[in-house]
Amino acid sequence: MSSTALIRIALGAYFVIFFSYLLGPLVVMSLTAFNSSAFPSVSPWACFTYEWFEVLFNDKSIRQGIYYSVIIGLGTVVLSVSMGLAASIVLTQIWPRLRSTYYTMIIAPILIPGVVLGISTLVFWDRVGDFLGVSEGSLLDLLFHNGIFLTILGQSSFIASYAMLVFVARLQRFDPGLTEAALDLGATHTQAFRKIMLPFMRPAIASAAVLAFLASFENYNTTTFTIVDYKTLTTVLAQKVRLGINPSISSLAFIIIALTIFVALAFEANRRNQARKNAVKEGKASTPKKGFLPPFLRGNPAAIVFVALAFVAIGMVGTAQQYSPESCKIQYQEAKQIEIQRRIQELQQKRKIRDQSGARNGPDIFVTPPPKKVQPEGGSGAFGNVFDPGNLNSDKNN
């Protein structure tokens, strides 16, 4: 008995660790978006604020990045979904002996490092331009060196594999007899594809398109090479994060997380509704009873949680109308100022004691006291002279 209890506890602990590893960082990052501290952190908590959202919305480079990310995303969706669909159809028809070679080829881009894909795309199209002898500044030359064009190609080369996997799963349930029936009834191959295969594949096309868009939107490794002189959201973010982090990025993350949760729950609710409808159709389940909850929420705890969260969010925004972060910030600033003052005084106190003892015992601590001349210049030292005791004096004088 006790050993099963132990296993249970171990399992529970493991779950907690796993999910906090997975979700904890996102929660912390979301919270930092609301802390007024200029460095993204939750502790110490300064003031609750929305100002980082404002900073975010006013950031022109991020807006530009989103704009290009969306354009590239749409291009990638069109190209990778059509290539993936074609590849999956060919897979169902290919000569059995070629099948595994072909499959390896169309699955390989998933495994090739994105960096390699980016480089190879860049190098190849540059050479195609050279090979075709396109003159500098001509239309083709502009195209082959255009970051948007190259990024769409580079991303599609592996996102098409993801799309292909989605289609293969769906095609396994397609009855080729349906296409034959359509042909037999006089349809051309194109008509049979458009009227029979395409409607059947529509749900898979929708999921592949969403998948492709998201994969494109969040891609960094390939994009950073192929984008040349444009900027997508990820490359803008990467640059910002490398240069220095600030909570406006957290606020962007918060928005993306909220959107993702919403989309995930909407998908899940849709899936459940569909499953229920099918069950009703097959007579396996009764039609849902008219109940207290609207249909969207029925039997969907995730959606209920989400609606609850939405209310909390609305409440928060509501309170924000009355709550003024400015006053808090001023208070916090004052508190900080007082704290600094206190520390300075402490230090001064210490120095006084040290100076006095130093005066008594001779210059054994300050072997070479800093020359007075240098001090006023400040900031020229390795650490901006923050450790220079003289700095504290000048600070106080300000």
Binding site: S43, I107, P113, G114, V123, A264, G299
Partner: protein, 309 residues
Amino acid sequence: MKKKMIFSEFFKNNGVVMGSLLMGLVGFWLVFLIVLPQLSMLDYSFRFNLPPAEQGGPKDVYTLSNYQQLIYGSDTTRQTYNTVDLMVFVRTIIAAMAVTIFNIFLCYPLAYFLGQSKGSGFVRLLVVLLIIPYWINEILRAFALRIIFGDSGLLNEALMLLHLTREPIDFIRQDIALYAGLGYAYILLMLFPMYNVIESLDRNQIEAARDMGASWLRIHRRIVIPHAKPGIASGATMVFMLSAGALAAPQILGGPSSLWFTQLVYQWFNDSLNWQQGAAYAIVLLASTIIIVLTVMKAFKVNMGDIGK
């Protein structure tokens, strides 16, 4: 002759219009987006970095110098090795392997739990919870870890509050943040293939084994793990390849003194503008990771067809 027949049959089955469309799309993808770019990069890696005026001129000949650069550095006498870059390479490969193994152990229990508890609402909710972080931008996920692992980050604050440490630990400089970030970035690519195969395992097999008195450990070793092998292999392959080829996490979470191999590639391309050299480094990365994956797959008797399931 036979090839010709296959093509004519293909067009007969799909019609000329649809057949050409399918062929065109697949051909464009395979030839212009996969095969030729890779070949072109391979070709590039054997060339000198010449100014545009000299390209195609007498000096534009094939060379091994870009590969020699990795091994011997700029030392033309080839007496000393390029220890800096070689160390980066070895470290990247070993760390990517370690991340992969870490992910296998971390994911297996959860994959087993999810796979064997048949589709309850709670499990669906867990799966949705798992998918959400996957759709958050790679950069932002690395950023989130940076907030946590930073000098005055949450983890250090917590450790100091608990008096476990007196000084903040420099997780970034010690590369702990990087390894945690790499493990974090691709953990779901390990979890889901495992989950899918374990889900397809007939529960009765486990119960039968238990019935025959097999211990908990033996059930896993003899029944679950052999069944889950394709999923584990698929997940491990993806995590290893993507970790070794990661760029965002090392750039954001890597310490200033230690580099990831992809960062060297990035530097050759974007900082030194020496594409040929960068291509050579990229080829080395691609070839070595593929060789490692194929070797491991062969050792564990897994087929390529299992990948991506």
